[in-house]
């Protein structure tokens, strides 16, 4: 479980705080979505929840962040990184840049945990298989497409087997099938007990995998609640968040005076 109580955060040298008064509880096995306009504070919250801010990013924090009931401040980095993993928005931030094959890249994290070789190999193949990129194992990670790199970065993260996960727009560059696959992988990890926080612009994905949703605006929580309720909230557009496809379609049909009963019938067949 991850818990934030009254958390505020200010980057070093920044004129104002990037986050204010954040209360958040992620229970084990729960996927919570994070939405909001650009620069609303999503990435900053990901850094704070993962323990990277202020630890490596600098800046000042207020309030309390606890992981499984413990204050993470005093934890050594290797313990933190096995307890909570963070997937950055841009895969080039995540990839080590020092490996020549995808397999070595995925194995890089577990190798640094000084795990037995057999364990490193097993974890790396398992992560590649889970994301169905085992065919890329021998390829040069620097020579992959943006979307393939995003999957490799995600595999490297999964190979660390962190107890909890923070993902900052993990599917931004993925094709629709890849997006669905990452969504399924997230649900599987949650079913195994991980707490997962996922920031995304793709509200269709959030609608399908999140039980609860937080919408940030100017560093504060503007909306929070069960995801179906939050995603149907009329405030969503004003907050710079795209309505999910189904919500948008139903509203447009209604506004145009179309046969909404027939439309509702088609959705009901899901």
């Amino acid at each position: 479980m991850i818990a934030l109580a009254g958390v505020g955060y200010r980057y070093a040298g920044a004129a104002g705080p990037a986050l204010l008064d954040i209360d958040l509880e992620l229970r084990d096995g729960e996927v919570v979505g994070l939405a909001g306009a650009s620069e609303a504070g999503k990435t900053t919250l990901c850094l704070v929840v993962s323990g990277l801010a202020p630890r490596t990013v600098g800046g000042q924090i207020r309030g309390q962040v606890t992981l499984d009931g413990e204050d993470v401040d005093a934890w050594p980095m290797h313990r933190l990184s096995q307890t909570i993993g963070i997937g950055f928005q841009n895969p080039s931030t995540q990839l080590s840049g020092v490996t020549d094959t995808v397999f070595e890249e995925v194995a890089f994290g577990p190798m640094n945990l000084a795990l037995p070789r057999v364990e490193v190999v097993a974890r790396s193949w398992a992560a590649l298989d889970l994301l169905r990129i085992d065919a890329l194992a021998e390829r040069d990670p620097r020579r992959l497409s943006g979307g393939q790199q995003q999957l490799v970065a995600m595999a490297g993260l999964l190979a660390m087997r962190p107890a909890h996960l923070v993902l900052d727009e993990p599917t931004a560059q993925l094709d629709p099938a890849g997006t669905r696959m990452v969504g399924e992988a997230i649900e599987r990890l949650a079913a195994d007990g991980a707490s997962i926080l996922i920031a995304e612009q793709k509200t269709d994905l959030l609608a399908s995998i999140c039980s609860r949703l937080l919408v940030l605006d100017g560093g504060r929580v503007a909306l929070s609640g069960p995801s179906a309720e939050v995603l149907a909230d009329l405030e969503l557009s004003r907050l710079g968040v795209a309505e999910p496809s189904e919500v948008r379609l139903r509203r447009a049909a209604d506004a145009a005076g179309a046969n909404v009963a027939r439309l509702a019938g088609a959705f009901a067949r899901d």
């Binding site: 040069d140 943006g146 979307g147 094709d175 629709p176 099938a177 968040v241 379609l249 049909a253 088609a266």
Partner: protein, 278 residues
Amino acid sequence: MSHDWPGPSPVTELRTEGLVHRYADGGVRALDGVDLHVAAGERVAIVGQNGSGKTTLVRHLNGLLRPTEGRVTVDGTDAAGLTIAQLASRVGLVFQDPDRQIFAGSVRSEVEFGPRNLGRAGAELRNAVSAALDATGLAGEEATNPYDLGQSRRKLLALASVLAMRTPVLVLDEPTTGQDARGLERVRTVIESAASEGRTVIAISHDMRFVAESFERVIVMRAGAIILDGSASHVFAADAWDALASTHLEPPLAAAIGQRLDLGSTPTDASLIRALGP
């Protein structure tokens, strides 16, 4: 600028013939014989699974990559005989990752760089820069360091810096990734206004709703080849879904609902709503 270029013309026609590209590292044929003709003023979306060759294809259009086999022509001239500078004045390419493109210390100098290199100066330069900043919502940020902008506004900045070059062809590599609702609306508007000026717009995207709504032609790629090419209502029609699935794509929601209700091909919300009737 070289003087043998026939001078700026408002239209540019692009063609690839038997285009093959193999990256130096290990024999993967990223493009495997692509024949493509894009007429002046078309709005073309390129879709397909991660690694299917979309970015490799568009990087040939402005000379960033050169063909292993086959050729690219610009208004009938073989691009092999043109320098990158000559191509850059015709075809503006916005990278997927803005951090591969941005290098200047301020938003203004970043956006000025391209048009300056094309020889623009004075009022012409100022107008091009301010129009590009207005279109991308970055007016007022001229003095800001690009790295003080968030990822999505850095992406809009990369777009602005290419818009300011006023090239007859605009190529956008995943312009909507990571954009919030407002950013997406800006990208749509930029595409519409470029098209209304008769410019050609080619964009790579994984957002099928955006593709269906903003592009008149959709090219579907798989394993370095084009497998479908036609209007949104053609490529998102039910009989093409197996082909789409083979390259990790799914039709937009409106198309799926239209098929479920037996309404024919309805790739956009608007077309579905029309077909639904009152």
